[in-house]
Symmetry: D2
Subunit: 330 residues, 4 copies
């Protein structure tokens, strides 16, 4: 049993908290939230004591900490937990600034504490199968990766304003997936974006519809497209072309029932959003973290993975703003 | 070039006539129809001379005859054409009476003339591929065959009244397909039927919705279902289960375009009816007939195939009427 | 919180036990099994006390009992639990004898205790959606129902010998589904069966491949096929044709990943077996039982549903053995 | 009957020639080819007289000319045929130089002769249905268009060397389709390309794998990807996202037969190449040309469509070579 504390009891924190409470190999030792009532409510639901962050980090009985607080607090909490010699799981992103991430990773590295970044999609059973089969060579040498992500509906503009923009907030998952699948670092980014879904998003200086081209040193190409609107559900598709063929992951529909009538054949929309679509991914992500803490195996995705995805998001943001393709620093 | 005459210029006759006129290995020598105006119209369209049946059969230059007249004239025309030493293609069925078919086949056999029966589905590229792959053992030993045929809409009751009933008129294609796929003769037939689509069909003594179970001596099972109604197009599916797996043939949709919106995913209906759905099958059927005439190879489906399908249709009709399963005479 | 005891800790009992232990509205008060070690092992895993059946039934604090013991004990345990004034959930079947079921239901009726029979498929989200949409008229008036069930591999012959035969052991789920979907009682059964998968099954007097035709008083037709072999996974499909169109439920595949290469397009097998395929169904089944106990609503499927399915299974068994279609007594 | 002559009897010329010979509304008056033997062979097959280009253009009885010669002769032949007052159909592209195209179109415009450019995909039944349904608003306001084209295998390097490069030779069809679907001119092009399929293509200065991003003045985005390799057949897919949903056109498979066994579910590859995949498109293209000649309706795609697609291909070529996005001149 690994003794784990969780910091941050918001939407994603509550999800991790429930998985943690149900996990047979975890002892859910404590939880904290900046808003005491939020922490209390979740603590009572799960029968977990609410404690302060300082107290948690000072408790030598707690082996691991899951950081699910607001983004601006991630880097500092990672550093403090690592300094306290705890294994750290942190929700993406480490920070909106690549420089800040780099500094954080340096400190974590010095501490020797293990750090895992929460790119949940790598743990989706289908996407991890896709990646495994690519590595096993079923599609041959990879030539082109196409990733499509479409959210059902845009978040509130208030959220958009603090999000770092679509490339950092939403497409960062796709940048991580691109790296995960390509098996090679992108060196060049082209980006185009528009505000077509909600003019208020444009007025807030962001885009809601965007597409990116990545190219690696070996010449492999990756297409990514994102939208904040998808009337038929949370669209999450990946397609990889290689010298021997194509491997792709389809969407998951909400039902297997089909109607055929004079209007044709109708099947159900796809799963509605990430909490539902990636439920098994979040469980498997936690499994991996706990396994690594127990076994001493280095967890993945690493802090470096978090940094690399952020650098791609930064470069895409600049590419979109300047209209000029950007090179990715090594 | 094979010199061919065609008897009967109705719906199915006209279809064969157009294929014959376009066929590079056929000389379309003459056509006849009981209704002179029908023959004239088609003859002018295709540039083919209209002649009388007697004249056609007496012409030694004509090597082959395609019989597409009304069912009640098939057996006699086959006999006369065979006696005149012509290769004969006859649309199914040879006759509504198995005894009459048997007598006809005896006379054809005596004449030595080749006879092919028009079970077009055997020549559908997909269904013939299905049969070939079954023979090659891809599904292993066959255990169960399921055939589904649904017409878009019922024919006029006046047609139903002269048709011999659903089992002889419509399901006969499925009986032939069952034999084609099973590779073994059914020995037992169970049948249930109802008039659910159009009460007038029931009043005419027929059914419009029916299902049959066949069993072979080796214990293989075949399910057939037919309906005179299918709002989403002409439904034609076959599924075969064997010791190693399943082979099935899906429907063909009228379009590849799909719409996804808040109501889900919508694809087009399936092809509307047999003339459209089986266009390539009719062409390949004619190819086979002409190839056999030219090469001397025995054509298939044979007259015996026509007889066997009719015996199954007869047995199913009795099984439905009496409520008792019927044995198929050897 | 409903206080529930569970009798029988075998495969299906353990499944219900784990769902019960995790259910927020249930207090899992006790469990029992004829083999003490089996009960102890599960009790320790779930932290549930092991008690004797007599003790459980005598405990006035226990409101509900789930009967998951061997089939030959079901009827008596139902009667005793009902006499003790407990709500009863019983795994299918109540008994292999329809007479015994009828006697049991009479006693339960006298007691006034609620009784629910475990036909889990009715609670599958997809199949219950299918049934709901049929009732709402999306397919129009029902004309034909086709149900296909194929197990991945046959059970041991020792199991087959005590099972009551394929029609009672396996197809009983499909008979219940037929009644659930048709909305009308079948009045006639035709059955054919063979031993094609494993000759030892045939020697044990049973079949491993079977097909049935049902007909209702209104003339609706139902096709059911079952096999004890399915190399591509647990095949569970239903298709319903009505006057306005078709509603069908497809299989669930184990992965969304597809490979396209020179050999074509390949997708994953379907889910492997019922415990995996119907995981959500078992949870929803328990939800319904607990909801009914709490609210006083009458649970479904009822004892009468259990009896009706058993009568169809009996009739199919006789139909297969005699080669004669059977009428279903009212 | 329209009297039509065809110039150029190579692969695409022969295809048009066979469609022309079979067309009920065309009189195929003459054909010509730079290689007399090629012309003779096709002429004999189709029973069409072979004549010289000068003679054909001088014949007042010939109303229309189809230009299927090598690309470098297109512009001049168009100009001469237009000057001779004939309706002109010309295979894409008009020329590899946009300036030359512009000059040609000016002369054609002066002559008043109708000119149609052979972008066959607009006439594919599925793609034209897709465009029609977009115009009818089924997907709402268009936000993003994704076009994928993958050839089964690369052409000979000798062909590549004279082709103008992938963007002009292959992707030009996709540029035309983008304009056809977007309903608005792209104003900006980003392009990346690599030689991953065949190093000889790279040595010849071309790419075999490429992706492009287009953006319109209204901010609509189009992704195009092309490859010279596709092991599973000629991959031709289009997906359009709009404010109300997605409309997409799937591939056409070579067979409806599916095998399910222990390895999963396998379906056939997609149609092998453009002559097979777009057979109906070429027929409908000819229908449209002949209809326009007969009725006086202006044919589409116009010369301007040919010019616009070429400008996009030129801009993509420069974008790829310089690594800088290009603006499209108005």
């Amino acid at each position: 049993m690994i003794s784990v504390a969780l910091l941050g009891a918001g939407r994603i924190g509550a999800l991790h908290a429930r998985n943690l409470a149900a996990h047979p190999k975890a002892h859910f030792a404590a939880l904290a939230d900046a808003v005491p009532a939020t922490a209390e409510k979740l603590g009572q639901e799960l029968g977990v004591p609410v404690r302060g962050v300082d107290e948690i980090l000072a408790d030598p009985g707690i082996q691991a900490v899951m950081v699910c607080t607001s983004t601006d607090t991630h880097a500092e909490l990672i550093e403090r937990a690592a300094a306290a010699n705890k294994a750290v799981f942190c929700e993406k992103p480490v920070d909106l600034s690549s420089e800040r991430i780099r500094a954080c990773l340096d400190r974590v590295s010095t501490s020797g504490a293990p750090l895992m970044i929460g790119f949940n999609r790598r743990f989706d059973p289908h996407l991890s199968e896709l990646q495994r089969r690519l590595r096993e060579g079923e599609a041959g040498e990879i030539e082109m990766v196409t990733i499509l992500s479409r959210d059902p509906a845009p978040p509130p503009v208030s959220y958009i304003e603090r999000s770092g923009g679509l490339f950092r907030d939403m497409m960062i998952h796709d940048f991580d997936m691109a790296r995960f699948l390509l098996g090679e670092e992108p060196v060049e980014v082209h980006a185009v974006g528009s505000s077509l879904v909600d003019p208020a998003i444009g007025r807030a200086g962001d885009v809601d519809t965007a597409a990116v081209l990545l190219k690696t040193a070996a010449g492999r190409i990756c297409q990514i497209s994102c939208s904040r609107r998808s009337p038929y559900g949370y669209d999450q598709r990946i397609e990889v072309h290689g010298s021997k063929g194509m491997l792709r992951a389809h969407n998951i529909h909400t039902s297997t029932v089909e109607l055929a009538d004079a209007g044709g054949f109708r099947t159900a929309p796809v799963m509605d959003f990430f909490l539902e679509r990636y439920t098994p991914a979040y469980r498997r992500e936690l499994d991996h973290f706990l396994y690594c803490v127990a076994s001493g195996a280095p967890p993945r995705p690493t802090g470096e993975d978090g940094l690399r995805a952020q650098m791609l998001a930064d470069a895409a943001t600049v590419a979109h703003q300047t209209g000029q393709p950007q090179r990715i620093p090594e």
